[in-house]
């Protein structure tokens, strides 16, 4: 059974209308929707397809190609742990394991309480001060097990 999606349809329509005439409008539209709604609702796909005069399959194909776009809402907070080489050289694999233990979920998953979505990211451009992560878009450097727990605790209490 498909879960009913509740989102601001008018806002999505506005974003599409504002950006549809840009050259190569697809990504700017998808970014606009995700910034506003937090993900790309399935029901937005036919709206985009209609305005850009492409098939729904094509819109879906673009959404699913790019790691950045979500097709489901994320948890209340998003944790992105860098797993690329420079952070690996500074201990990010241990951090990745620790993060999964603390949150009780794997990568690409959301913790059981719906609070945290854990994602891998391949380089945040902070390669001298790893291991790095972003927590709700904020950068944190030199994250060890203790610092990770503190960051998560602060969000839980917020």
């Amino acid at each position: 059974m498909k879960r009913q999606q509740v989102f601001d349809v008018a806002a999505v329509r506005d974003i599409i209308a504002q950006r549809r005439d840009m050259a190569g409008a697809m990504l700017p539209i998808l970014h606009g929707i995700q910034e506003k709604i937090g993900y790309i609702p399935a029901d937005a796909v036919p709206m985009i397809a209609g305005e850009l005069n492409v098939s729904r399959a094509e819109v879906h194909g673009v959404i699913s190609f790019y790691h950045f776009f979500r097709q489901e809402p994320a948890g209340r907070h998003v944790v992105q742990v860098c797993r690329a080489e420079a952070c690996q050289a500074r201990g990010s694999e241990a951090l990745a394991e620790h993060a999964q233990n603390v949150l009780g979920c794997g990568f690409h998953e959301t913790s059981a309480d719906g609070q945290f979505t854990l994602e891998p990211v391949y380089c945040l451009g902070q390669c001298t001060i790893g291991p790095n992560l972003t927590l709700d878009d904020e950068l944190h450097a030199r994250v060890d097990a203790d610092k990770f727990k503190r960051l998560i605790q602060a969000k839980r209490e917020a």
Partner: protein, 520 residues
């Protein structure tokens, strides 16, 4: 209003400094100065690229800028007690910034302003030779600009090292009512941050370089394709473009010349392959980032089918100094056919990580030891990956190779964009080889079979090698698979993933349980 005796204090706004608490330090300094009734002017500059010292606070004194770092908010009252505003002594006192060895021994051309100026102050930019190159370009013919670029010897800084001027000449000669300039700022390689630093710390340089490229080839529109992982860079770049437009350095009728160039930032969406130039074009056109077969060259049929200059960000950011100082000035840096300077990026397990802009020709060991100070953990550096996830792993026996495109090619490695990631002796190279294949499996665009399927099979084969299942046969199979990927892939993603894999196997066979084995 009396601000004449206000002391200027610099606290960086570069995202690495922010990740280390620069905003909190800036707030503490403002609060402390207020509490003491001392008048300061706080400037949010870029980073000097000495990241182990960030947040690096500088104070303008009659002798020059004096540095303190790394500063925490808790240090701030003590710094004021020690006479911060006069450059007073303190345990965090580093002396004159420009005299710090890591910085003093560099040759900064492309990064000449980075860390010095307020990135969004057009006045600062102009005070440090900003837009001199553009003004020179505006009175030249397109052919003359292209000639100057060819004469400079600049080669593409993104990895392929193709001569930039030749690329521009192809686009200039193409006949079309519409042409484009695309900046590849999809800096997805681990261990690289020089593109990010230019966008965050000196964005007008990129605007100037792209505008000159537009004048040179007859393009009136440009796009900067920036990865979504760089929100600070995107924000700063957008602000800088708005300022340049408002002040007549960009847009219609640039500086009254009658020439136009329009610039726009486009945000990527987390696909590594979009750093490949044709996949990037597809993405800009609103499609899946699937690579295109070449020919046609993008120089002839690029964005929306029009002739397009596609350059790496650092290539474009190197253009203003060439137009300002001349081709000879730039060409005289470097060795052999590697002209000019490259912003090397010391990353990973390194004590003094950061940005080192130097002329080509120094050795990897000089970078690692003289600038980097060895590993962060104090253990021996065992391997260095140069040129991103598709670059070879180098053992210490190759650390004396001079940084020169041809010398690196001769040892089966590449300088690429100058990013290097150091690993200490705790690294397991079989795991790194596995990671390279895994990364390719996750990031492959899927268009060609060797990359799409080969990478997944590569992970499986390496797993068997690690588990010692028919190890000798599996090693043989891995080499054969790599051969297929190198020769059969459509682009560098599948074609170069074997480089880290085979170099790990060749130089560190013991990690694959194959002691003494000399891989071919």
């Amino acid at each position: 209003m009396s601000t004449q005796d206000a002391v200027t204090i610099y606290v960086p706004r570069d995202s690495t400094a922010l990740a280390l608490g620069a905003n909190e330090v800036a707030a503490a300094i403002t609060a402390e100065a207020g509490k003491r009734g001392q008048s300061i002017k706080l400037v949010r500059n870029g980073s000097r690229g000495m990241f182990w010292l960030e947040p690096l606070v500088e104070v303008a004194t009659p002798a020059g800028r004096v540095a303190y770092g790394p500063v925490t908010p808790e240090d701030v009252p003590g710094l004021f007690d020690a006479g911060l505003l006069a450059g007073g002594r303190h345990t965090l006192h580093l002396g004159l910034t420009e005299e710090i060895g890591f910085l003093k021994n560099q040759e900064r051309l492309t990064f000449a302003r980075v860390g010095i100026i307020d990135p969004l102050s057009l006045e600062d930019y102009l005070a440090y030779e900003g837009f001199v190159g553009l003004k020179n370009a505006l009175v030249k013919t397109p052919e003359a600009i292209v000639e100057q670029m060819i004469a400079s010897g600049l080669r593409g800084r993104g990895g392929a090292a193709f001569p930039t001027g030749i690329k521009w000449q192809t686009v200039l000669r193409a006949q079309s009512a519409q042409k484009y300039v695309v900046c590849n700022a999809d800096e997805g390689d681990s261990g690289t941050f020089s593109d990010r630093m230019i966008m965050e710390d000196d964005p007008f340089t990129l605007i100037e370089g792209m505008t000159i490229a537009g004048l040179a080839v007859g393009a009136t529109a440009g796009f900067i394709y920036v990865r979504s992982e760089y929100p600070h860079a995107i924000a700063t770049m957008n602000e800088a473009i708005a300022i340049a437009n408002a002040r007549g350095y960009l847009g219609d009728n640039i500086l009254g010349s009658g020439k136009s160039f329009h610039l726009e930032v486009r945000k990527g969406a987390g696909a590594y392959i979009c750093g490949e130039e044709t996949a990037m074009l597809e993405s800009l056109e609103g499609k899946r980032g699937v690579v295109r077969a070449k020919p046609p060259l993008p120089a002839l049929e690029g964005l929306f089918g029009k002739p397009t200059v596609i350059n790496n960000l650092i290539s474009l950011a190197s253009v203003p100094v060439i137009l300002a100082r001349g081709a000879e000035f730039y060409k005289n840096y470097g060795v052999g056919r590697s002209h000019g300077t490259l912003p090397f990026q010391l990353a990973g397990n390194i004590k003094q990580g950061g940005l080192v802009e130097k002329a080509f020709g120094l050795t990897l060991r000089q970078l690692l030891e003289d600038f980097g100070g060895g590993s962060a953990t104090g253990r021996p550096i065992r391997a260095v990956q140069m040129g991103g996830p598709l670059g070879a792993y180098l053992p210490p026996s190759q650390f004396d190779t001079p940084l020169d495109y041809e010398a690196f090619a001769a040892i089966g490695a590449m300088i690429g964009h100058g990013g290097l990631v150091a690993f200490d002796d705790s690294v397991d190279m079989a795991r790194q080889a596995r990671y390279a294949m895994q990364f390719c499996a996750v990031e492959s665009c899927g268009k060609c079979t060797p990359c799409r399927i080969g990478s997944t099979r590569g992970v499986e084969v390496i797993d068997k090698i690690i588990a010692n299942e028919e190890r000798a046969q599996q090693i043989h199979l891995l080499k054969s698979l790599c051969d297929t990927m190198v020769n059969g892939s459509l682009c560098a993603m599948g074609g170069m993933t074997p480089f880290p894999v085979l170099s790990a196997l060749n130089h560190f066979p013991e990690d694959f349980g194959a002691p003494g084995e000399q891989a071919a």
